[in-house]
Symmetry: C2
Subunit: 400 residues, 2 copies
């Protein structure tokens, strides 16, 4: 193995990450606990939804043919047979020339194929005057029109938002099979790093990256497992990584902004497994390490939090997606640049931008500044193949 | 009180909801558990971040003035005094004409004001040849440049995403004051509604709305409390609402697609408090009830899940925002319509659309169809003041 591999493209790095990341297992969970989980198996309709022809209005269930030509001047006259009550499992029936009242959501009686809205009819004793014709199917949702029994209503790989949860409820999926929550080990390294409760002395910095990476993976449905701060000591780092590999599905080692630390991380990964990428054509985020050990992915993140965040977005997002066998979906927005952005060909640049009224203003501040993360609205990716972007150009902004 | 108030505009309904919704209290939580919570108090920097002048590269800390005019041909020559190690709390000092090696992230020695990148210098024994001049501050983040001690770094009302969590960690906020999680009571009504585990008989439907509303409020940081399915019985509904008011900060009563149920809900709210809105100029979602009881908001949602979802987005979102004293922020995207959308003046229409390549295609299916929720990408809002939108018009799509 070599510690000094060539810098690879972002695409190649992503491809490597996807290749070495095993799919997570799956588990059944109650539907009410399944929000934002990824479906591991298709959800199918167990029954027709709705299970009966259903009125979408308050009105009178009729045979549409009985209303042909009905008008205010010459209404159709039908015999009123009574009301269908909500939840009644027998809506009765009608014969030609008759009708029944049916509330919104109620079942049509046998023989009816349309509903006349109450405002288009007048009930006088046992007679109903219909002032407007209805077409067959009007104001009705047919049995199985929403979902047919046996059909797939939600495909595996889909993230369960409230709308999917509602659909699953409609087809009786009180438990769903979802991708297991990946456990992501998080290790901070560096002699300069102190716990956030401590007041750092000159030369020391707080452990921002554990919190940043932990929150990032949590937001994407993973469980972070924190292994604390490890000093620049190869044996100590080895123990921490080995322990993380034992307990987790993937390991993120943050830190290594100094060359000594970078070497430490790469050496430890090499000893436990294999370093596959050591440097990505990505700015900020170049000193990223991708390796594999005990058949699990290990990622070495840069030390500066703002660079770390770009690597989380550009690389780690794909690792998490690979675990649930999905692809990364990003919220994006098109905007016009208010300034030129220079870039180096052969390197993918991620520039923080703030957005206002469809215009994107690059925030050029030093990449080590955390305040650029909270003052920006997203990232503009400049592909490696071009030399920069010009003012007025329309760009795609990856929203935070 | 009147059960038959006039239909009000969406804006008036939202204003009413905000007026009757009390702000939630606040609580301190550990930073690692604060993801997606709303800040209740500003977070200030306890120290300068960084706490010292910090190098952004691997290189040599120098007095910039010593490098004026340096070039490949005529390098500046400096005396090498040694290395600053990472995490050392005393980076030493340099005097004019000398330098120290400093790794990325390391502290500048006293007397240095810039860093020469290693690739622009050559070390020969105790001498350093500098091949390029540096300006004061070059490759350095100054003490306090990211955040100054005492300054507000995160304002109250801000939602804590991973980036805010990272910033809070940098300023030592190991606990943060956040808005308490509102408890939202959820009641389903209707004789036709059965638990999702049951196989509905003809005329019956599963309780989709409890799951839909529960997941919706959970996604927005609230805790749903489920009070089950109540039949169309005024006394039973009264008991359920009273119990929900006791245990929760707000109550959602879903169901009431038939007139009997609508009357029941309004009557119960009136008896326990006051009905303020009974009908909103909103489609779908017209039969919405807004009331207040025991100084808590009570919302009556329509029975059809697809209509319910529009009311959750158009109205309940604002209720939740009011509790955390924030405003609703929506993910939106501009797109061009592929078809005309007719609309009625005086009513706010929410039309589901699917998106592709910047074009929005309306999904006109009956509003009671659940499949339109999972087949669409968002909603187009047609203001009450206009009569529809034309093909080719640019519209704002509220993304799900």
């Amino acid at each position: 193995m070599s510690l000094f591999l060539d810098v690879v493209s972002v695409d190649a790095a992503v491809e490597t990450v996807r290749r070495i990341t095993p799919a997570a297992g799956c588990e059944d969970v109650p539907l009410e606990s399944a929000l934002h989980r990824v479906l591991a198996k298709d959800v199918c309709a167990d029954i027709d939804v709705p299970g009966f022809d259903r009125s979408t209005v308050d009105g009178y269930a009729v045979a549409a043919a009985d209303t042909i030509g009905a008008s205010e001047a010459i209404p159709a006259m039908l015999q009123f047979l009574g009301r269908v009550s909500m939840g009644s499992t027998d809506p009765g029936s009608i014969s030609p020339g008759s009708c029944r009242y049916v509330p919104t959501g109620g079942a049509l009686p046998a023989g009816a194929d349309a509903v006349v809205m109450i405002e288009n009819a007048e009930q006088i004793g046992d007679d109903l005057l219909v002032h407007r014709p209805v077409a067959p199917g009007e104001n009705v949702i047919r049995r199985g029109e929403d979902f047919g029994a046996g059909k797939v209503v939600l495909e595996r790989g889909r993230v369960l938002t409230p709308r999917e949860i509602g659909v699953a409820a409609a087809v009786g999926a009180d438990r769903v099979s979802v991708v297991m929550v990946p456990r992501i080990g998080i290790i901070s390294t560096g002699n300069e790093v102190v716990p956030i409760l401590e007041r750092p002395a000159p030369g020391q910095v707080r452990d921002v990256n554990s919190y940043l990476a932990g929150a990032f993976v949590t937001e994407r449905g993973c469980r972070p497992v924190y292994f604390g701060i490890v000093r620049d000591d190869r044996a100590a780092l080895m123990r921490a990584v080995a322990s993380a590999l034992e307990r987790c599905d993937a390991v993120l080692i943050s830190g290594g902004s100094s060359k000594d630390e970078r070497d430490n991380t790469a050496a430890v990964v090499a000893e436990l497994g294999e370093v596959l990428v050591h440097g990505i054509a990505l700015a900020p985020g170049k000193p990223t390490i991708i390796g594999t050990a005990r058949k699990k992915p290990v990622i070495g993140l840069p030390g500066h939090p703002a660079s770390t965040f770009v690597v989380l977005v550009a690389i780690v997002d794909h690792l998490i997606a690979a675990m649930s066998q999905t692809t990364v979906t990003r919220r994006t927005l098109r905007a016009r640049l208010t300034q030129n952005i220079p870039s180096t060909r052969g390197r993918e640049d991620y520039i923080r931008v703030s957005l206002e009224d469809g215009r994107a203003t690059p925030i050029f501040g030093k990449s080590g500044l955390l305040n650029t993360l909270v003052q920006s609205d997203g990232l503009v990716r400049i592909p490696a193949s071009i030399e920069g972007l010009e003012v007025g150009e329309e760009v795609e902004v990856i929203l935070w």
